[in-house]
Symmetry: none
Subunit: 223 residues, 2 copies
DNA sequence: ACGAAACTGTAAGGTTGGCGTCAGCTCAAG
DNA sequence: CTTGAGCTGACGCCAACCTTACAGTTTCGT
């Protein structure tokens, strides 16, 4: 499971440079150039492992975004990027719950180092199993258990379910599933429906439901 | 009580890097660069929760240190660090009672992950014989017993089963088996399947099953 | 030293199960 | 009612796995 980053940066040139650089180490980097849009995205999408946040943004400042994020109990690590050398911004940022701070201009090497450092912390939280109702994923062993009994799945179904439980409770659209669970592998659109069908049968008499959200995708929830 | 680590490593640069890295997560890291000194320290000081052991050391090799340790009934988990070339040393190390190994050069992230994993098992009994159902491995004597009667196995089958019972209940992938049980020795992919087959016959009417996890490997479980 | 027995690994053919497409169906939205 | 998205059972392909046979090698007793 590759780490997923969200880059919030309005300068297109810098954004593309960073995206390119970070993509070398990390599978997926989404980019948004607008504070309001970032808030919207983050309210719907809880799967990011790290947020790179510019402070000087259109519509909503980075500090606003961060404040909203923490107010909603998001714990995703945040690395602040800003041109303002102003020291009070840094203090404000850290007070608001940012995890690190980098002043522009910065060396790409240093950014990478800090990103790695923040992502490394992710692993400790990754030691804990993910659970939803009586379904449970031990991420070390890559092993599902349902009602305390081990549930062995074929590789594809396993990946799909792992992806769904990661975003437990929120809808995940098909394109994203294709992207994250089966990156690159030629998986037809219909194939996912078949996996879902097979998974539903396995989860039939448990307290976990795999609901379909028409026009969007699927969502895993507990009864 | 914070975990306490002993690092036995003679390269000063690597030693300081590791000490620094590990100190972030763990309160105390002691470091010793000499095999004989490490033995002395360990004979007096039984409080370590984990030992990181380089194999290539002055005065006494890491394997000697480990052997002495186990001969004195020390049960402290040991993580071996060794150059990738010395493959047969890893097997020796694991046979002598090491708990994991890591080949140099390694990523710091990976080291941290393994250290965490080993510390997590801290309380679970490490010295007692490993048992699963009516199958039991006496690690001192390297002897299996099944339903109280001793089960003598050919060397290869023994190593395979030992590796499987060590990860009892979780799937172990073929690559890992090849690596840990038969490191280096030219063992074709199909050979494992043959061993498994032979082991299954021996375990046929017991409460231990050797299940295959398609696309992954094998898993030992009790009925 | 010699032969027998046990161990080891490869080859070959049979079996299984995951995978993905299809065709026909259901069902919700407009 | 129409339409298109999603559901579902069936089918064939293929890779992974099982099983047996056999030949080369080591171990061990005599």
């Amino acid at each position: 499971m590759p780490p997923k980053l969200l880059l919030v940066e309005d300068d297109p040139l810098l954004a593309s440079t960073l995206t390119e650089t970070l993509s070398i180490d990390h599978q997926q980097v989404d980019c948004i150039g607008d504070g309001g849009a970032a808030e919207t995205r983050l309210s719907r999408e809880h799967g990011y492992d790290l947020i790179l946040l510019d402070l000087n943004l259109p519509t909503r400042s980075g500090l606003d975004v961060l404040a909203t994020l923490r107010a909603h109990d998001h714990v995703t690590p945040v690395l602040i990027l800003t041109a303002r050398a102003a020291i009070e911004d840094r203090v404000k940022g850290l007070d608001l719950g940012a995890d690190d701070y980098l002043a522009k201009p910065f060396a790409l090497d240093e950014l990478e180092a800090r990103v790695r450092a923040l992502l490394r912390r992710r692993q400790s939280s990754q030691d804990d199993p993910l659970t939803l109702g009586s379904l449970r994923l031990d991420r070390q062993r890559q092993l599902f258990t349902l009602d305390e009994v081990s549930l062995s799945l074929p590789p594809r179904e396993h990946r799909l379910l792992a992806c769904l439980i990661r975003y437990a409770g929120e809808p995940v659209d098909k394109a994203r599933l294709l992207d994250e669970a089966f990156a690159g592998e030629s998986v037809g659109d219909n194939a996912i429906e078949v996996y879902v069908h097979r998974l539903r049968r396995r989860l039939a008499d448990s307290d976990v439901r795999l609901r379909t959200v028409r026009g969007i995708g699927y969502l895993l929830e507990s009864a």
